[in-house]
Symmetry: C2
Subunit: 256 residues, 2 copies
Amino acid sequence: MGKIIAIANQKGGVGKTTTAINLAASLAVLEYKTLLVDADPQANSTSGVGFNPKNIRIGLYECLVQEIHPQDVIISTPTPFLDLLPSNIDLVGAEIELLNMPNRERIMQGLLKTIQNQYDFIIIDCSPSLGLITTNALTAANSVIIPVQCEYFALEGLGKLLNTIKIIQNHLNKQLEIEGILLTMYDGRLRLCNQVVEDVKTHFQDIVFDCIIQRNTKLGEAPSYGIPVIHHDAESKGSIGYLNLAKEILQKNGMI
Amino acid sequence: MGKIIAIANQKGGVGKTTTAINLAASLAVLEYKTLLVDADPQANSTSGVGFNPKNIRIGLYECLVQEIHPQDVIISTPTPFLDLLPSNIDLVGAEIELLNMPNRERIMQGLLKTIQNQYDFIIIDCSPSLGLITTNALTAANSVIIPVQCEYFALEGLGKLLNTIKIIQNHLNKQLEIEGILLTMYDGRLRLCNQVVEDVKTHFQDIVFDCIIQRNTKLGEAPSYGIPVIHHDAESKGSIGYLNLAKEILQKNGMI
Ligand SMILES: Nc1ncnc2c1ncn2[C@@H]1O[C@H](COP(=O)(O)OP(=O)(O)OP(=O)(O)O)[C@@H](O)[C@H]1O
Ligand SMILES: Nc1ncnc2c1ncn2[C@@H]1O[C@H](COP(=O)(O)OP(=O)(O)OP(=O)(O)O)[C@@H](O)[C@H]1O
Ligand SMILES: [Mg+2]
Ligand SMILES: [Mg+2]
């Protein structure tokens, strides 16, 4: 059974999509069959791996609200071993439509169960909110990765997110674990960055990944070509960072 | 009557809060009476001007849902001429509670009308979503500033936001104008940054501010001291950038 990992943080712009795309691509390059699920109506994961959201006729919205089988929606990407469950702007509607459905928090859990044994990993990119779609992702997930930008505001929201995860663990998904806190956009020359890293490591030392993702222009450039950074520039700090993250997760889960 | 300006973009981390705090502070330094409204449950504007959201007993939530008069909630900040209508995490609840209220899109419009004549400017910081609270802010506003990070993903969401603004102009708020598109976190050394600036100026030339906000560490540091950047380092590129933005807006509105 494949491991389902949600990438979540309600703080905006902390590197959720960048982590989802490049972790999924790194796992695929290591030949683990991986599915990337785009659970954000902005559909940045969809475009970041080369598909125009405007050309996606059916996506995650139809799976959640119209019970379309994910198999009919999933597309393979140019990266071997990497598939995508795409989204488009219609997904915004799901936030309201799910409200009236029985078992509304468990819809994504149900649909991912039908395909979980076809993948080694399923990576879910969440939107910057803790609404019903993100709640669905956290209920369906075995674990969650929390990207934290090395900036002041990013620290503020961490407590709230950890509270939400506790609530979900207590009421919706007892097996949800924290895969780890991932420090992103690190720039060692900045005092603030080093201060945030120190604060996070002091408060959360046992759940912080050893691997820190550095600020790297190649990570910002890759989505404009619609490819993961490992195909844009495999020698870049960004590529190496996310490959190291993949290896750290595999080691932690006893897979290498 | 004070001018109400919403700062909105559903893309996360593009500089909405940084723009709201530092534009409001710049207008206050120029001695325009200014109110900063924190319409994001993350309450980053509240903490960014020095107030701990956990210590805010009543905030915007109570004004929207319990009809508490804003006058009883507004606090003055250490910056002369700058007041704050604070928030805390309770605001998350308003998104659902407003759904069942008659006239649910016009609640904020009603409450800001009661205090609009006490200020020259009211600046509303929105969350990274286009839900009911942001819809309220766009319905209450005279104009909207759209911060756009000089990054690839930031361009993608612009079309969707402009569509949403058109819908609000047609159905909820005929007088809503676009004050301008503000390019943020600009770094002239990066090819991608220059490409995004060129793309935005080509597609939206008549609504893009002349002023571009550069990436500047002082802007990231200031919130950790709970003060606007102009009080943290008045000579910094960040301070000068937002002061120039304030002057550009004042000129455009025939106020200087
Ligand atoms: N390590 C990095 N170095 C440089 N740029 C980065 C890095 N990580 C992310 N970025 C860039 O920063 C911006 C924000 O990242 P991203 O979109 O992944 O964040 P997000 O959390 O998914 O945002 P949202 O909250 O809108 O979903 C993007 O333009 C991305 O390309
Ligand atoms: N010009 C800039 N230079 C350097 N850092 C900046 C600049 N503008 C914003 N930042 C930093 O980038 C991060 C994101 O900015 P900010 O929080 O203002 O974005 P936002 O759009 O309000 O995010 P959210 O979508 O979560 O509300 C913050 O840590 C902020 O301090
Ligand atoms: Mg994202
Ligand atoms: Mg903000």
